[in-house]
């Protein structure tokens, strides 16, 4: 049985979703973010 090819719209949607996820992932490595997480670690250690 032949598998149906995914539509162009679906490919674009998944591509965009993947791009958005990777973009958000990269935001975690902004310098401000790193400082905030480090501060958070210190804060949690103090609890």
């Amino acid at each position: 049985m032949l598998k149906r090819k995914p539509s162009i719209g679906k490919i674009i949607f998944y591509g965009f979703a993947l791009f958005a996820l990777l973009f958000v992932f990269s935001m975690y490595f902004a310098p401000d973010m790193m400082v905030a997480v480090t501060n958070q670690v210190w804060a949690l250690c103090g609890w």
Binding site: L21, V24, F25, M27, Y28, F29, A30, D32, M33, M34, V35, A36, V37, T38, N39, Q40, V41, A43, L44, C45, G46, W47
Partner: protein, 399 residues
């Protein structure tokens, strides 16, 4: 169905996302007001406790009067709570705004209430899939809002960032209007069972009790790791300096968030095809295996990233499966209330995970014993989910 999925997803994206970044406000707020960190900790603890304890009541109200009205009230409370946090200069007002108002708002805008709408508007064949999509939307909200809230904090400062979040939270009100069930009536052709009868029926059902116990474990493991993984990594830095670098904790956090989206989405798809109780058991034992391997293997950044990715995949994937089983067994008339009742157990587990993590660390100087408890509980949850009976009880099957 498409509308319910889109707006239900948006609702949990906002409600789950906004609260997820609260930890970032801890130091800016406490240092600006000269408060101790316990002030912020108490506010968040109160918020979680209220969310868990009041959820069954809000659920019952939503099932009785319609989820739409409850969600509108939730959106208003969420916005007021955030605005209150922004303008509070004393501890009591801050705790009431962030703890009480936002805790109550969460009972009205998160999974349980949205799942009630899904249950009534999506066919049984697609229900768990739809729950998976919505859970993935909530996971995306959590993933997105941490860096977004950090960006707001950096650009506008604490007070304005909180006011902007209040504005964002107010979007829940029009979203709730989009989720209005036009044909909602209390009976909704779903039988004439009362709330009291529904509660008695659920509590007397062994499968419901097993699911409740399993959800306790879910809360314990997830919150223990969320709160204590970063300090654990930092402690390791004395013997393994590479693991204690800030970039490792940040990457682990980001990976948990990212893989959580894939995990919740996949569990919805798998739950539609395979017995949900076995999937739940697999998730719990998977967590125990992952924790065991993480502890036994030499700690490196890579082992931490792999652990974070696996735990992220298993993070909230229990939500669509657990709620799907509840809907399958008891029907959807009181789904929000019953889902809320199980969620209360989740929040008790969360409290124990956060509290015991800190308490036992203070007593023993190590997280090892809590990790071992988390592993043992995972095995317990694996076993306790196996005998769950997924078929509809007699009343629902004959309806």
């Amino acid at each position: 169905m498409k509308e319910v999925l889109i707006y239900g997803g948006l609702m949990v994206t906002l409600s789950m996302g906004i609260r997820h970044g609260f930890g970032l406000f801890n130091l800016p707020i406490t240092s600006a007001n000269g408060w101790g960190r316990e002030t912020f900790a108490l506010t968040i603890a109160l918020q979680n406790l209220i969310w868990g304890a009041v959820q069954p009541v809000t659920g019952a109200l939503a099932d009785r009067y319609g989820a739409f009205k409850i969600m509108v009230a939730g959106g208003i409370l969420y916005a007021l709570g955030l605005a209150g946090m922004a303008i509070s200069t004393d501890v009591m007002n801050f705790t009431l705004a962030g703890g009480l108002l936002i805790g109550l708002a969460q009972t009205a805008t998160t999974y349980s209430v949205v799942y009630g709408i899904l249950g009534r508007n999506v066919s049984a064949e697609k229900r768990v899939w739809a729950m998976g999509i919505t859970a993935a939307a909530g996971s995306f909200g959590q993933f997105l809002m941490i860096p977004a809230e950090q960006g707001l904090l950096s650009m506008f400062g604490t007070q304005d960032a909180l006011l902007m979040l209040a504005l964002m939270a107010s979007l829940m009100i029009p979203t709730a209007f989009m989720l209005r069930e036009k044909n909602f009536t209390h009976n909704h052709n779903l039988g004439d069972q009362t709330i009291k009868q529904a509660l008695k029926e659920a509590i007397g059902n062994p499968s419901f009790r097993y699911l409740t116990l399993g959800y306790f474990v879910c809360g314990f493991q997830v919150v223990f790791i969320a709160v204590h993984l970063a300090p654990y990594l930092k402690d390791l830095s004395s013997t393994h300096p590479a693991v204690g670098a800030p970039v490792v904790a940040t990457t682990a956090l980001a990976l948990i968030g990212l893989f959580n989206i894939f995990g919740t989405y996949s569990s919805g798809i798998l739950g539609q095809r395979f017995p949900k109780r076995y999937l739940l058991s697999a998730i719990y034992i998977g967590r125990s295996i992952a924790i065991t391997a993480f502890l036994l293997l030499p700690p490196t950044p890579m082992s931490t990233y792999i652990f974070a990715a696996i735990m992220g995949f298993l993070w909230l994937s229990t939500i669509p499966l657990t709620n799907g089983i509840v809907a399958q067994i008891f029907g959807v008339k009181y789904l929000t209330m019953l889902s809320g009742l199980i969620f209360f157990s989740h929040q008790l587990g969360s409290f124990c995970g956060a509290f015991l993590g800190g308490y036992l660390f203070d007593q023993t100087g190590s997280y090892l014993i809590v990790w071992e408890i988390a592993i043992g509980l995972g095995v317990f949850a694996f076993l306790v989910n196996l005998p769950v009976k997924e078929r509809a009880i007699h009343r629902v099957a004959n309806a």
